[in-house]
């Protein structure tokens, strides 16, 4: 830490991490990420450990990579992270003295990925394909019948998730139950109540965190990519390219983003994937403007002239020399962008335009609006969105204060 603190980045990082708001924000964000990753262990009908006459089995682990139990793609990714995240943390810790942060990230990722693939190889059926590994697990219906019996006398040693309720199908007859009331079909309580269809609110919330985080990251990643390329071309090349691209940016800025997203969703299908892509394709104008300004001011510096004199190709100067020097505004806008995408996604779901199959927080809040007397349907999802947005905004604000040379420290 001592030698890192001398670099401007280290100074900024130290300053960033010392802010209380940032610490709280990072803590809340970490909590949401952990909840999202370990969602199956918080709310799932399948037993984690099952002990009966046949011996001990782990039905939930067997189910994690089954497409029939987790039909949404992003669920598979998060289920992968169930194992990858601790492995990454260990690799990061093991490499702690070696390299600079980004190199550590890359190496940890590489190590863990190789280890993961090595673990998978014995599972490949001879002459089979990955598709077979994905789909031909023991049938989930079989697992359901065997391991979802809640009656304790079947298997006295079974360990269940925190709330042994499913998120993807409603409980018949359990409509608008108060938090803490018992669900007859499982014998366990609805921790946060149930909604107007009969879904367990806790299970929906936990799996909703996955959706919010996925949307935020993917949509912002896409819009950053587009915005950076357009802004870089516009600021560096100048001339007519700049004029044309600036008109485009101005049009996108004038178009109220939310209305554009609403229109596109209305005309296409309502799936999480489409919403992510649309959010990414519509939200790049601000980033493009930022990057353009940064490129305009950087491209007259000496190091760019030096790179020119060395005869480097244009794209190399743009993306290897100027871009790393203008990363800080990009990083700040990315943090706010994630918050914006999460807001838009839950807003769309609130308006009834989200993916009807996805357990989004906005969908729950919409139920709260339709059943206005039931306050837990309003407070629980609303406060979750608020907490996540606040955490992200505080982190973004901290980044701005730490990285912006103009702000007073």
């Amino acid at each position: 830490m001592a030698e890192a603190a001398t670099s401007p980045l280290g100074l900024a990082l130290g300053y960033f991490l010392r802010m209380h708001s940032v610490r709280i924000g990072l803590g809340v964000l970490a909590l949401f990420v952990l909840v999202a990753i370990y969602a199956p262990f918080l709310a799932s009908e399948t037993a984690i450990v099952w002990r009966d006459a046949d011996g001990v089995s782990f039905p939930l682990f067997a189910e994690l990579f089954n497409r029939r139990s987790y039909p949404q793609r992003h669920d598979l990714l998060f289920n992968l992270l169930v194992f990858l995240a601790p492995a990454l943390a260990i690799a990061w810790w093991a490499l702690r003295r070696r390299w600079r942060p980004w190199r550590r990230v890359l190496w940890s990722l590489a190590i863990v990925t190789v280890a993961w693939i090595a673990c998978q190889v014995p599972m490949l059926p001879s002459g089979g394909s990955w598709q077979a590994v994905w789909n031909d697990r023991p049938s989930p219906e079989e697992t359901v019948r065997r391991h979802r019996a809640f009656a304790a006398d079947d298997a006295p040693g079974a360990v269940f998730a925190l709330v042994p309720h499913r998120y993807d199908a409603p409980y018949q007859g359990a409509i608008l139950r108060r938090p803490g009331t018992v669900n007859e079909s499982s014998g366990r309580a609805f921790l946060l109540g149930s909604d107007a269809v009969g879904f367990d609110v806790f299970a929906r919330m936990v799996f909703g965190a996955r959706i919010s985080l996925t949307i935020g990251l993917v949509a912002t990643g896409l819009s950053l990519l587009i915005g950076t390329i357009i802004g870089a071309l516009s600021g560096y090349l100048g001339g007519w390219v700049d004029i044309v691209l600036q008109r485009l940016v101005e049009i996108m800025m004038c178009f109220p983003t939310f209305i554009l997203v609403l229109t596109v969703i209305a005309m296409t299908s309502r799936s999480i994937f489409i919403i992510m892509i649309v959010l990414g394709l519509t939200g790049w104008a601000g980033t493009a403007r930022l990057v353009r300004g940064e490129f305009l001011s950087q491209s007259v510096r000496e190091y760019v002239t030096a790179a020119h004199a060395l005869g480097l190709p244009q794209w190399r100067i743009m993306f290897r020399h100027i871009l790393p020097n203008s990363l800080s505004p990009l990083l700040i806008s990315a943090t706010f962008g994630v918050a914006g995408s999460i807001f838009t996604e839950s807003g769309l779901a609130f308006l009834g335009l989200g993916d009807p199959n996805a357990p989004s927080w906005g969908l729950l809040l919409n139920q709260g609006r339709e059943n206005i007397a039931y306050s837990w349907l309003i407070y629980i999802p609303g406060l979750a969105v608020f907490a996540l947005l606040t955490a992200l905004n505080q982190i973004g604000n901290g980044l701005r204060e730490a990285l912006d040379p103009k702000s007073q420290r």
Binding site: P256, L262, A266, F386
Partner: protein, 491 residues
């Protein structure tokens, strides 16, 4: 001043056109949903009785022809297809060993949507004895390509005489279909006993309607650009003839009833946001570093992170609903009480305010943060500048320095920022109108989006963007008023 405004207006034209182009692109995204419906209606009758299929298709053709979705998006080359091309198109619909079922269906559907420019080659094929095996599908395609139902958009453009003529034409088309079997073994073999009579009828039909469907070079070239989805959309937009088939109403008459609610809500909320956040920003800046400054900044920052739909729902729950614990302080729907029109003017206004209060709060609280932050930063910058030091040295009172000298200069920055923020804040009205059931543009847009009503979505989006551009224009006017440099530069 006038020159400046004209300049700003002219700059808006390409922006508005660009927005229309994006809108059109979005409209074209919608194609598949309608086609799937059509596919289903075609597939549903297994017998493939030509008349039944045609009736199913005709129902959808009406909607397609009305939305312009049957036309190619930007370039229409249909006027240049010769007989060989059309024969190839017909062959693609033949059931053969190598042809997949869904590809065949798609080829069939594409052919039937081609429209009036294909009638001439199709009629030529039916008249040609050498192409006897294609007479069945060609007659079917002809009867659908020539079929133009009387959509409400057309009623205004055609005289009663022309309307009657078109109706008889559409009716005559039903007798022209030569029954054919589309099987692997027999190909397009004609099964109709009266094939010769129908061929004669097609020839007669072609002679009678020659001027409607004939295409010389000029027609083909004109169709190249004019008969495209884009031109059709633009024409309907600018002549105000977008028609919502689901609601059986003109889009712009639906909007005309509602746009003003949205307009007033938005502009009132923006005005309120300014009136509150500017004093807040000034106050913060003058007490830089005190507890009050820090508290205001932090509270506003937290407020900024509260999603507006959450706030609106909370208001609805706590202030507008009779629950066991509380009573309803505010109305929970609409912009006026029942029978409000019979109230006296002051009471009517009071009623309006009562209804509009919570929606306005929900709309404007989020913009306090950014506006007051910018205001604070800008006032701080102005207070550090030379002219403020001069003013203070002259012996001006501090209030005069802040409100007369610094504020005036910050307003210029604020207006620039304000017009930039407008687009970001705009769109919140959809939530507010949904939560409080206000019959405005937002709830219209939402209903249209939920029911996939393309023309209505397009119309209300364009009008909302138009409102936004009006807002930006107002900001430009204010900018010119606030900044004397503009006035002096443009005379």
């Amino acid at each position: 001043m006038l020159a400046y405004l004209l300049r700003r207006l002219l700059w808006m034209v390409p922006t508005f056109l660009g927005i229309l182009v994006i809108n059109f692109g979005v409209l074209r995204l919608q194609g598949p949903t309608l086609s799937e419906e059509m596919d289903k209606s075609i597939r549903n009758d297994g017998a493939r009785n030509a008349d039944l299929v045609a009736t199913g298709v005709e129902n959808y053709l009406g909607r397609f022809r009305s939305t312009g979705l049957d036309l190619p998006a930007l370039v229409n080359l249909r006027g240049f297809t010769d007989i060989d091309d059309v024969v190839a198109l017909l062959r693609a619909t033949e059931r053969g060993p190598a042809v997949l079922e869904h590809e065949r269906n798609r080829a069939e559907k594409d052919l039937w949507l081609m429209g009036r420019l294909l009638v001439e080659p199709l009629a030529a094929i039916v008249a040609d004895d050498a192409l006897a095996e294609l007479h069945g599908p060609a007659s079917m395609a002809l009867s659908l390509c020539a079929y133009y139902p009387l959509n409400p958009e057309d009623l205004g453009r055609l005289t009663p005489e022309q309307q009657r003529q078109r109706q008889t034409r559409n009716h005559a088309l039903k007798g022209l279909r030569i029954e054919y079997a589309n099987t692997r073994e027999a190909g397009f073999a004609t099964t109709d006993p009266d094939a010769a009579g129908k061929r004669a009828a097609i020839a007669a039909f072609w002679q009678a309607n020659r001027e409607d469907f004939a295409r010389d070079g000029a027609t083909a070239w004109r169709a190249l650009v004019v008969e495209t989805g884009f031109c059709d959309f633009m024409r309907k937009l600018f002549t105000g003839t977008l028609y919502s088939h689901q609601r059986k109403q003109w889009v712009f008459s639906l909007i005309a009833d509602r746009w003003h609610v949205t307009f007033w809500l938005n502009f009132a909320s923006i005005a309120i946001a300014w009136c509150i956040s500017i004093p807040l920003g000034i106050r913060s800046a003058r007490r830089l570093g005190t507890f009050e400054d820090a508290a205001t900044t932090n509270v506003l920052f937290l407020l900024w992170s509260v999603p507006s739909f959450f706030v609106g729902t909370l208001f609805l729950h706590h202030l507008c609903t009779d629950t066991s614990t509380g009573k309803a302080w505010f109305p929970n729907r609409g912009m006026s009480s029942e029978g409000a029109l019979w109230l006296s003017t002051p009471r009517y206004l009071l009623d309006l305010l009562w209804h509009a209060f919570l929606p306005l709060v929900t709309l404007c609280y989020a913009s306090f943060t950014s506006l007051s932050r910018y205001m604070r930063a800008d006032i701080l910058e102005q207070l550090r500048s030379d002219y403020v030091r001069t003013a203070r040295a002259k012996g001006c009172a501090e209030d005069r320095v802040v409100y007369h000298h610094a504020l005036r200069n910050s307003m210029v920055t604020m207006i620039t920022l304000g017009s930039g923020l407008l687009a970001e804040l705009f769109g919140g009205f959809v939530f507010v109108e949904y939560i409080f059931s206000i019959p405005g543009l937002g709830s219209l847009l939402l209903d249209a989006a939920r029911s996939n009503d393309a023309p209505l979505v397009m119309g209300s989006t364009v009008v909302s963007v138009g409102l936004l551009l009006i807002g930006i224009l107002i900001a430009d006017v204010l900018y010119a008023v606030a900044d004397p440099r503009i006035r002096s530069r443009y005379g």
